[in-house]
Subunit: 177 residues, 2 copies
Amino acid sequence: MGYHHGDLRAALIRASFELLAESGLSRFSVAAVARRLKVSSAAPYRHFPDRAHLLSAVSATAAHDLREAMVAAVARNPDDGLAAAAGAYVRYVVGTGAGIHVIFAAELYEVADDCRREQTRALMTTMLELTDSDVRLLEATLAVAHGYSSLVLEGFFTKDSVDDVAQRAADAARALQ
Amino acid sequence: MGYHHGDLRAALIRASFELLAESGLSRFSVAAVARRLKVSSAAPYRHFPDRAHLLSAVSATAAHDLREAMVAAVARNPDDGLAAAAGAYVRYVVGTGAGIHVIFAAELYEVADDCRREQTRALMTTMLELTDSDVRLLEATLAVAHGYSSLVLEGFFTKDSVDDVAQRAADAARALQ
DNA sequence: AGCGGAAGTGATAGACCTCTTACATCGGGG
DNA sequence: CCCCGATGTAAGAGGTCTATCACTTCCGCT
């Protein structure tokens, strides 16, 4: 653990997730991520040209992991896939702080990042398959899942466990079909 | 329009809404609001002790106006009240940028502001009445309405009009009952 | 008329952020 | 074995933000 870190790039993405989970997108800063990793505030710029590209990499990772979480949830519950996916969304977003507001953040639209584009496209494709390409149903399910996640993140459900809320989100998603 | 503004306090709240609608909570700043009104950056502090209290006043106004918009929507559509209220939520939030993430923002929890407390309580009471005190149904409806609003604000529905999205949110809310 | 307080102003301290630049360190290939 | 490029650092320019302070302006009241 000397002068060189080993894999600072990956560590930056991981630490960014921690920061997002703790403080949300509004408090996110490159400097804070660097502090958390005990590297200088210039170090991140060796790996990402600017803040937006770091966030873009976070977005790509989140899109990838969220997709995996949804696919796994569907596999565990094949006859109730969409609801299971909604529940997985809530668990992922509440755990990481990275939902569609990070993955599809408007401030990232101008960032050229093929990796991110590919991951978000794969996520969309998977979600479309889950809804049999019914865009309206996809929207509604996303709205439910993201709405519940937001309520948790804003402190509405301090008494409820994440799993309880995820279950209720899944129930709501089922009701929409 | 001389040295004194007339009613800077109200103007600050109004300008804060404009800023929220344009740039969201993360870009909100007291200085930016002052710039927009062409007053010095110290002027807002004559009317609010700090940034949190200005946001708290915005929250109170938003809670009040959102409640009015919901009540009016219910009155126009008495036999489908909850869905109408969900549609009104989407229209209000997309128009003003001030939804539950502003009204119930976690960063305001420690601000002592009786006016805000009263308005948010009245809003909650109204929403509880709409759902016959079914807290689960209230949560689900809020999640749908806020989820659709978030999707709009993140740029998902650039091709759709707000009214269209509000209609779909109302449909989804109806499906939950 | 003129005075007192409410509501502006400019200047500024102090914190933090983004991103750059010049320099230091280290590990791996020739 | 040594050098070079990748990856780190310290320092700082330039920006924004919050909040304060002393000062000014103007309105309303006596």
